[in-house]
């Protein structure tokens, strides 16, 4: 099985479909060749559990979409595995590994250095730097970023030229080449998304994590963004992305993981997942097909309501009589 998952074959949609069809469509299912494995990751904000994922594997070389209603914990989950946040369960059974390297305690920068690069929901283009400078910052292992070497141009000049050539190539691919000397702050929202993605690619990542890459992008640009993402996959990169637009998800993802209220509730191909009752519940609520029309209300409920109304009326009357302790008691009752 793993030999099927190597990068050249992942360009063939048929191979991908066959491979993923053999994977069980249950939350936390085992993948033939997982690049990212997450175990028991919990994040609590006060009493609220934002993320509580027992097990998730991400298959190498395909596009995995992470969907879920607002507040499902998708972005928090991204922050946790990329080192921008610490799980509450850290040291208490939280483990996640990328390409076999354990990431439990690593910082955001070393996660990126290990080959897992992310973008942000609110784009972090460095607006007061040129597009080119933004790109150049993405490259890894630059000798000129070492303080001692930085003062001597011969030590990094050649590498700088190489990095620049690579940046030009990527900018060309993302249709940003003519903007290369403009400040990133002058770009449109969609162009910033493109720039951020291109910048992430400067580091030659093995896996790229996109947090809502289509948010705020106009439909024309969405098309080109989508094809960029597909090209990346066809080149052998693993893509994990958060998205709200179901058309987009259905269109490009090979596998979909669904989160709701911090938990992983379903996994499977786009079609399987969208007919999964757990997913429909998550999006529409568990009682979405219960009619709450008048005639359906049971007598029991009616009796309950009548009782409440009577109690309310009695209290109002007491209040009108001006008993001093009544308002307080009424306030407590309301709680």
């Amino acid at each position: 099985m793993p030999e099927q998952a190597t990068s050249p074959s992942s360009a063939d949609p048929e191979v991908r479909r066959r491979m993923m069809s053999e994977v069980e469509a249950t939350p936390g299912s085992k993948k033939p060749d997982s690049i990212l494995v997450v175990n028991n990751i919990v994040r609590q904000f006060g009493g609220m559990t934002a993320v509580n994922v027992d097990h998730l594997e991400v298959q190498r070389g395909i596009i995995t979409a992470l969907i879920g209603p607002n507040g499902a914990g998708k972005t928090t989950f991204f922050n946790l595995i990329t080192g921008f946040d610490k799980p509450t369960s850290a040291g208490k059974g939280a483990h996640w590994s990328f390409e076999g390297n354990v990431l439990d305690k690593t910082s955001a920068s070393s996660v990126a250095r290990s080959g897992m690069v992310r973008t942000f929901q609110l784009t972090k283009a460095l607006s007061r730097m040129t597009v080119m400078d933004n790109m150049m910052l993405g490259a890894q292992h630059q000798a000129g970023e070492n303080l001692l070497k930085s003062m001597f141009k011969p030590l990094w000049g050649r590498q700088e030229a190489e990095v620049e050539a690579k940046a030009m190539e990527l900018l060309d691919r993302f249709n940003l080449l003519e903007k290369k000397d403009d400040f990133a702050g002058s770009l449109s929202g969609g162009q910033r998304k493109l720039l951020e993605m291109a910048r992430a690619l400067m580091s030659d990542p093995t896996m790229i994590m996109l947090d809502e890459p289509m948010a705020g992008v106009n439909p024309a640009l969405t098309q080109s963004l989508l094809s960029h993402i597909q090209t990346l996959r066809d080149e052998g990169m693993t893509v994990l992305f958060v998205e709200h637009d179901m058309h987009v998800v259905r269109h490009i993802s090979d596998w979909v993981a669904v989160m709701a209220e911090g938990r992983l509730v379903a996994e499977g191909s786009a079609d399987t997942v969208m007919s999964d009752p757990a997913v429909i519940d998550a999006y529409l609520g568990a009682h979405h097909d219960t009619d709450l029309g008048e005639e359906e209300v049971s007598e029991e409920v009616l009796a309950e309501i009548a009782e409440e109304v009577a109690a309310e009326a009695a209290r109002r009357e007491a209040e009108a009589e001006g008993a001093p302790t009544e308002p307080d008691a009424g306030a407590e009752e309301k709680k």
Partner: protein, 328 residues
């Protein structure tokens, strides 16, 4: 006409003064912090004072000049580490709070009478106790030289030698900063200034880079402090909060995040102050403003200038307006 010429002379003297050069060096350091990296260091005067103390105290106790310089740098280096380790992982404002209080702690410790044998307490350390090894290095010989109307002794306490060394150091520091900021390392600094998290997501060790910037700017501050005390004496109060604010004023006037901004800003700051002071002295009768009051008045005018610069030309004289148009 004569008064006017005198005012010009006073301005020119202030322009080439070693103290102006010393502050310029400290401002170059502050520019590495605030201008390029976005570190809000409100205690540059503390770095200066530590440099001056390290330098003066070691020479006063019989150590050779290079060792004294090393002690000055070492003190600032430790200071930067101690300030940076707890605060650089936090948001920028914390660094500002910690640096301003730490600089004040240094100043008040220097004034402690229990340390009289060491720092000279409130009296400070007179220049005669540490200056000699420096003047001994002079190859300018004795006598005095008159360039235009600037007439100073060649070596002396406050002569051409100290001016020459001070301004050469300004030039060297500027070249150093230029070499640093045009490199990929400098690009990282500007990236960190814009958005730390973005740089972190690209796999860079933000904490280490910020620490390097803090140390480099601090060392430049210490060098400024050493030059500052050469023609005078080490006085803790000369390098207090107001010195930090003078540095910020000079930096903002000249233009933050530029290579020549700090030098231009320092020169303009000091000459403008002398200009205001001398004009007020010469043309405003004593009954309205005494000469002691003109001193304070000059600082008020400089403060107003700072406000006008920040409101109407936030990028300073040399800064790039376009860079400021985009609020990150």
């Amino acid at each position: 006409m004569d008064t006017f010429f005198n005012i010009l002379q006073a301005m020119a003297r202030e322009m080439v003064a070693p103290t102006t050069a010393a502050v310029a060096i400290a401002v170059i350091g502050l520019n590495v912090h605030f201008g390029f990296t976005g570190l809000l260091n409100m205690g540059q005067a503390g770095f200066m004072l530590l440099g001056a103390y390290g330098f003066a105290i070691s020479i006063r106790n019989g150590l050779p000049l290079p060792v004294g310089v090393l002690f000055g740098f070492g003190a600032a280096f430790l200071f930067a580490l101690i300030l940076g380790i707890p605060t650089l992982k936090l948001r920028g404002d914390y660094l500002a709070i910690v640096t301003i209080s730490a600089a004040e702690i240094i100043r008040f410790s220097g004034r402690l009478s229990i340390l009289t044998d060491f720092t000279g307490a409130a009296q400070g350390i007179p220049g005669s106790e540490y200056r000699d090894p420096f003047t001994a290095l002079s190859f300018f010989g004795t006598g005095s030289t008159d360039i235009g109307f600037l007439d100073y002794s060649n070596t002396g306490v406050n002569g051409w030698w100290v001016r020459f060394v001070a301004w050469s150091l300004v030039a060297i520091c500027s070249v150093l900063v230029y070499l640093l900021v045009r490199s990929p390392w400098g690009r990282l600094l500007r990236g960190i200034r814009e958005d730390e998290d973005a740089i972190r997501s690209l796999g860079k060790n933000v904490f280490a880079i910020k620490m390097q910037a803090l140390v480099i700017g601090g060392l430049l501050g210490a060098l400024g402090g050493m030059v500052y005390v050469l023609p005078g004496s080490v006085q803790a109060d000369a390098m207090g909060r107001s010195m930090t604010f003078f540095c910020y004023t000079a930096l903002l006037i000249g233009g933050a995040a530029t290579v020549f901004g700090p030098i231009l800003g320092s020169i303009i700051f000091y000459t403008a102050r002398i200009f205001v002071k001398s004009v007020a002295n010469a043309y405003v009768p004593d009954s309205i403003m005494s000469s002691a009051e003109t001193e304070s008045f000059s600082y008020i005018v400089v403060g107003v200038i700072l406000m006008l610069v920040v409101i109407f030309r936030p990028q300073g004289i040399l800064g790039n307006k376009r860079e400021l148009q985009f609020n990150a």
